[in-house]
Symmetry: D2
Subunit: 304 residues, 4 copies
């Protein structure tokens, strides 16, 4: 009972900074939203190495440029992602597109050669474009290479400023894809490797992650959804003498079913991934709604 | 596949209007957020009678003034609420307070005389204040009265401009509380009625609601959560030759469990509560995050 | 860390009692399921007055007879329900039917005169049958009557052994419908009362509920979903010097959004609705899956 | 509106087969539960190759033996799992244990050397035992090996009949772990590989999966949760001329947030992973509740 809840005042002409100030007065999700902004801002103020976990297929919804810009502006320093986000980032960087529309009959979509991700759609030709373009890049990569090195080499060949894989290359931010084989990008790498000398070494990246969590400045983690990216970021701290000093997750999952995606950040204290003195914040919100809002709030707060 | 998804651009110094424009580029929840703003703005542009359903206990989180201001500015014309929202609105109007804090041990809270609503807290003394103040108002009400008339009479005695019950009185906006007896306000009315002549007629309000859905301008419905308020608003259309032309719901429930709170708005077409030509929008979001954002977006769009 | 988790053993020919014993070995939802059986069995072993809260529209899914049989067998002593459950119970008792099928186009359903509740369907003619039959019963009720008395009088005129309203009449189990006006039953009562002398007194039922929570044997509460039934049952304890000694809820909602439906039972300790010594159990499960299983488990455990 | 909903009849002494028959009468989750049994039974009756996806950390809750027994009885033919399930399966096979209890203060757990997975607990010493035992097995594996081959080699050294990794070895059922490096098992393999010649080839397994989906008998998929296992199974069909003829998922996630875990199985039609003629069933239920029930139902139905 530390703080009086004041009625939120919503009026025309508000800025994001105004809205966050109003959320700050409230309880339930609104109060948490304000805390999320403070948590992320705190990471940056304390010069944390910021690890960003990207679950699901967030890029098709339009979220990729936000990540690219955070990398560009030194607000994210390590990315751990599903293969889906990497694949769709490349598709857009190669000139492919996603569309949105009404959830339609899937049999008709199949006939039209359109693939659906909830209310986002992508034509088969975008995947053919992807196949062609990645087929031009892979021959430039040789020998035994870690996934994060492969992502860097792919980033080198991109032009789009909206691509987080490109920005990560430019800023020397590592992009980890722990479930690399579980993606269209992984499939095509596999097909290419059938008759070319290319060995993708997954294990190497563990060492690189542990190095990142063990040395340098303090560590902060941001999770959009859970899944492998969350676990891989948290797990790297198990081999480190330190803990994350900050952790922020935006999730719609819940703890009672026992999966890591829904696990509270407090649970991570028992594992030594964060400590009881870490600043922890969980927003229960669709990341495509909450993350843009939080990023806008942090950019305002820090004038970045 | 009607519209290309463009990458959201999030930068410092954004206004709410900017953010909504960015959401509009995206899919999943972000795209829906932009549609929600359009849907509510559409209701007002077409001069709909706007019915607002308030489930749960949203007022303790700080949401009450938003509703009060919407009533003041002719953006909401009928309110249907749980008894909880009415009770907590009055508690604040009477000078009581809600606090927020960390979710604590409930046994200790019990000993301290503090009641918890997730991360919102209220002291027993606020309820005693409520008891005293409502005990002063009830004697001014006489005889056989509908719930909405009782709410108006209570509103007459309030001073706080933050109270939606007060604003509803000032603007002659009816406040329906279909589960009136299911609230602290209902309990105290019951206790008072034990030895005073006060009959609260629930059935009368059905007639008033049906009148409101059957005549005058087009009808639009906004649901924060589901529950009795959603059902009561929708049900009133069953006795009307019309349907709601607009419906917007912000919910975190889901259809598969069969309850009305999670039911899609499309389901309501089968009942004739909305029609296939109605504009329908469902945001899956915590209302304390989503509703302030949508209201800010609508106020910007309409310069209200 | 009180108890070792043992691997569940699932084989052919199992009984429900076997399955509950297997659940008992496990964690997450499975362990909770076994606790739910113990919790309900505990209520009955300690001769609690069992209050059952029925949210949503569970009867259309086929759950009504389970409630009827629990009343018949002295396993439920007070029912608090939405108007929807009461209405659909009567529809079936009057000879109407619900159907199940694939979620179809709602516009087509509208044209066919079929109303949808997720994957349950009901024809308009069932509502017309309801209107006719309830129109024959209401004239037998006279004057000023509480909702629970009205439900008893309606139950008197039914024949179906599957109807929980009928069984409640036979066993003198009160059926409370706090949001009575928020239902088709409420609508028709309203229409009838337009030109007949029938006053439905809502407030009276508060007194009756408080009496039930304040006297007699210990009290136990079972909530299928949340909503008004959960709040009405819990609220009645606020005017009682006692608390519920047992509480079991089966819900799919969650605490973080602040509504009572998702609130933990622990939160109710702060309000004095249950005590820290009460036995509390929350199952996160679709009630149409979980409740039949729990009831079967309890019947086995107690040989009822 | 194809089928009348009949009231479920729940009585003492029921078998699982009885319960499924009762579920079959109902709508919402209960009806779906009966369909789930039919769907899985259908896969086996048609001699499908059954692919089982295991998300999260289900083994700590006690679910591992169910999987082991399904493998033993030719009811599961391919397993795709998170590293967490593999790790915890091995921990138990090595003699370690999981415990259940009340969700406690995580700082205290940390001090006591206990790690928490919701209401399941595991002592640090179980992880030390794991480290020791896996350190004895890894030297028996040589050279360049795929993850599924590594899992087979590990299975060769186990004794516990409750271990699904062991049963998979015995029955020559491949166990794929696409995010292998994202697990304690992966960590220790990495540490071992630092000074030993062991190369874990991830890409090889894609070829093996595609072979499995492309040849032999019809294919059926069962997903407990979503995540990488669901995507990896579905993705393998992208390179195959066929589709899954059956798919059953038990999930608590939802489609609107755009992640694959919550995606409907219908969405997979647009991708060609299943076809419009495939039998699809989604149960919205905690897998630790639903899967034991479904397996028991299938075993009864097929007398296996």
């Amino acid at each position: 009972m530390s703080k009086k809840i004041c009625p939120l005042d919503i009026r025309k002409g508000m800025t994001i900074a105004d809205l966050i100030r109003e959320y700050e007065k409230g309880a339930f999700g609104s109060g948490t939203m304000a805390e999320a902004v403070e948590t992320y801002a705190g990471m940056l103020t304390e010069n944390c190495t910021v690890f960003l976990g990207l679950a699901g297929a967030l890029v098709p919804s339009g979220l990729g440029k936000i990540v690219a810009d955070l990398i560009r502006d030194d607000m994210v320093h390590v990315v751990v992602t599903t293969g889906a986000n990497a694949t769709h980032d490349l598709i857009e960087a190669f000139g492919g597109s996603h569309y949105k529309g009404v959830v339609e009959d899937d049999s008709q979509l199949r006939e039209k050669g359109i693939d659906r991700i909830y209310d986002a759609f992508i034509a088969d030709e975008s995947f053919r474009l992807f196949e062609k373009k990645i087929g031009e890049i892979l021959p430039t990569v040789k020998g035994d290479i870690s996934v994060s090195d492969l992502m860097r080499e792919i980033g080198r060949h991109l032009a789009s400023p909206y691509s987080f894989v490109r920005q990560a290359f430019l800023k020397e931010v590592p992009v980890f894809v722990p479930a690399f084989t579980d993606s269209i990008l992984g499939l095509h790498t596999f097909l290419y490797a059938q008759d070319h000398h290319l060995i993708v070494d997954h294990v190497k990246d563990i060492g690189r992650m542990v190095e990142l969590t063990s040395s340098g400045s303090k560590a902060g983690a941001i999770f959009l959804g859970g899944g492998v990216p969350k676990n891989f970021i948290f797990q790297a701290m198990l081999l480190s003498p330190r803990t994350f000093e900050y952790a922020l997750q935006i999730t719609t999952d819940r703890p009672e079913y026992g999966g890591l995606s829904g696990a509270t950040l407090e649970e991570a204290i028992s594992w030594g991934k964060v400590s009881k003195d870490s600043r922890l914040c969980t927003c229960y919100c669709d990341a495509t709604i909450g993350f843009p809002l939080i990023v806008a709030g942090v950019r305002d707060a820090l004038q970045k």
